[in-house]
């Protein structure tokens, strides 16, 4: 029997900007329409397509302005132009009202624990920021964002809340992500992936705890309806489903 509930549903992993090269249309209206169909209240999105934090933040701010009650701005940081990074992060959080930030080592082409990232991590640590980062280990070569790399970071930068996007992706990465979450109370796991095998949601919740797993979709790559579906059909308690869908994000991001 259907059990329709009113519960916060917050998609913490989304991207904005145009990506026609990958056949990915995107517009604020398109996102809101999909959110409505999926039952998603709010969506936090970043723009990682430009190697220019100011440009990225302006794109995000413009989108947020279209539906400020539904959209949450997420900052982007890259060490590639260090003189620009901190001033721009301060603008994002202090003026634009962004709530957390994304880093993407894959585009920076260095591992997440490369010392050049310390600039960002020290700043984020001083402010207790949530940093979401791509985390993946689908094959032996896939190590830039190996989930266990975050253990050292989480222990060094203890005031940062580390949100591992994709929770390592495939099963071998999920095992590492859960291990990282077990070792570090400031590591959280986000669920979206196209690699996830049956039983992934259950594995993440049972391994990391129902309070530390968060729903995300990776739109425009994937539709939130699929990932909401992964949570609501998982063999976990109703309370756990509600936490993963949005209560955990509400608490983590102070929404």
């Amino acid at each position: 029997m259907a059990k329709i509930v009113d519960t916060p549903v917050i998609d913490v992993h989304a991207h904005v900007g145009q990506w026609g090269a990958k056949f990915r249309p995107a517009s604020p209206k398109m996102y809101v329409d999909i959110m409505d169909a999926a039952g998603v209240d709010r969506m936090g999105f970043n723009c990682i397509y430009f190697d220019d934090e100011r440009k990225s933040h302006n794109v995000v701010a413009d989108w947020v302005s279209k539906y400020p009650d539904r959209f949450i701005g997420v900052a982007f940081g890259t060490p590639r132009h260090p003189d620009e990074t901190i001033p721009e992060l301060e603008r994002a959080f202090d003026q634009l009202g962004f709530k957390y930030m994304k880093i993407y080592p894959t585009y920076y082409t260095k591992p997440v624990d490369d010392p050049s990232y310390d600039l960002i991590f020290e700043w984020a640590n001083s402010r207790g920021i949530v940093i979401m980062c791509h985390s993946s280990n689908v094959a032996d070569w896939d190590t830039l964002t190996l989930p266990t790399k975050f253990i050292g970071l989480a222990k060094r930068f203890t005031k940062v809340k580390w949100l591992l996007a994709h929770s390592g992706n495939a099963m071998r990465g999920q095992v590492l992500a859960v291990e990282a979450a077990k070792q570090c109370p400031n590591i959280y796991l986000e669920i979206c992936t196209s690699f996830a095998e049956a039983g992934t949601i259950e594995f993440l919740v049972n391994g990391a705890g129902e309070d530390r797993v968060l729903f995300g979709s990776d739109i425009p790559l994937m539709d939130p309806r699929y990932h909401v579906g992964r949570v609501v059909t998982a063999d976990i308690s109703e309370a756990a489903k509600q936490k993963v869908l949005g209560l955990n994000a509400k608490k983590l991001l102070g929404l």
């Binding site: 259907a2 329709i4 056949f23 999926a38 095998e197 539709d223 699929y226 059909t233």
Partner: protein
């Protein structure tokens, strides 16, 4: 606040067009036996599933298909699909085994099996398929789209199903479906935004089939997505079971 169904079950009968059964030689699988597969189907609201075993592709079709039949042992909810290597296998022997076990579909992997997907290699195999009205599943990663299009367009009497089409294949998969009316798609990896609406707008609902690729993906989420895509009840019925049943002659 968001309205979500915490106890979602599909509102129509479901026949999953793509699952596997059995262990893998190269990795651990969370659900690798029939009992747990059936339990998953019950929880997901899936009545039947078309099942093959990867061993039949990865190693040997004769031994693998026999292994599949051992595992599913006449379980009526699991409908067997055989894998075949048309460049190696004894096709009359395969045909006999298919008839013996009531198998109505095949799966091939041209790139992995290392043959050009061309008439001059597969002609006799295509003749047999056409004579026996047997549809063939091919994973998108096994398809060279230009080769596939050239070959399949010359054989309008054949029936193919593109399987596990990922967003990496999107740029050619939909145009290919639009230009080849004898090709259907199972949507296990169509996770893109609005993917079902775009697909059905492009080719209609009759060639779209629900598949999950379980256990490489969970079984139910794609059903949830389908049910939240604004499809009509008749479209949902067709996609979730009717189209596959018709293709296999199983209603």
């Amino acid at each position: 606040m968001g309205k979500v169904d915490l106890d979602f079950k599909p509102s129509v009968p479901v026949f999953d067009a793509c699952i596997t059964v059995g262990r893998r030689y190269d990795r651990y699988i969370r659900v690798d036996n029939v009992a747990d597969t059936l339990a998953t189907m019950d929880r997901a609201g899936v009545q039947r599933a078309l099942a093959y075993t990867p061993h039949a592709l990865d190693f040997d079709s004769v031994e693998g298909n026999s292994y599949l039949m051992e595992m599913i042992k006449g379980q009526p909810r699991l409908v067997p699909q055989f894998a075949v290597n048309p460049s190696f296998d004894d096709l009359p022997l395969m045909a006999k085994s298919m008839k013996q076990h009531g198998v109505r579909s095949l799966r091939i992997a041209p790139k992995f099996q290392r043959y050009p997907f061309r008439e001059w290699v597969l002609g006799p195999f295509f003749d047999w398929l056409e004579a026996n009205r047997t549809p063939v599943w091919v994973a998108a990663e096994e398809i060279d789209p230009s080769e596939f299009h050239a070959t399949v367009s010359g054989r309008p009497g054949l029936r193919f199903v593109m399987s596990q089409v990922h967003f990496m294949h999107e740029t050619w998969a939909v145009p290919l479906l639009m230009s080849l009316p004898n090709v259907s798609i199972e949507v296990s990896r169509m996770l893109q935004p609005n993917s079902f609406n775009k697909l059905i707008d492009a080719i209609g609902a009759e060639r779209v089939m629900f598949g999950s690729r379980f256990p490489d993906s969970a079984m139910a989420p794609q059903l949830y997505y389908l049910h939240r895509s604004g499809l009509s009840q008749s479209q949902l019925q067709a996609v979730c079971a009717g189209n596959l049943g018709r293709l296999l002659g199983k209603g």
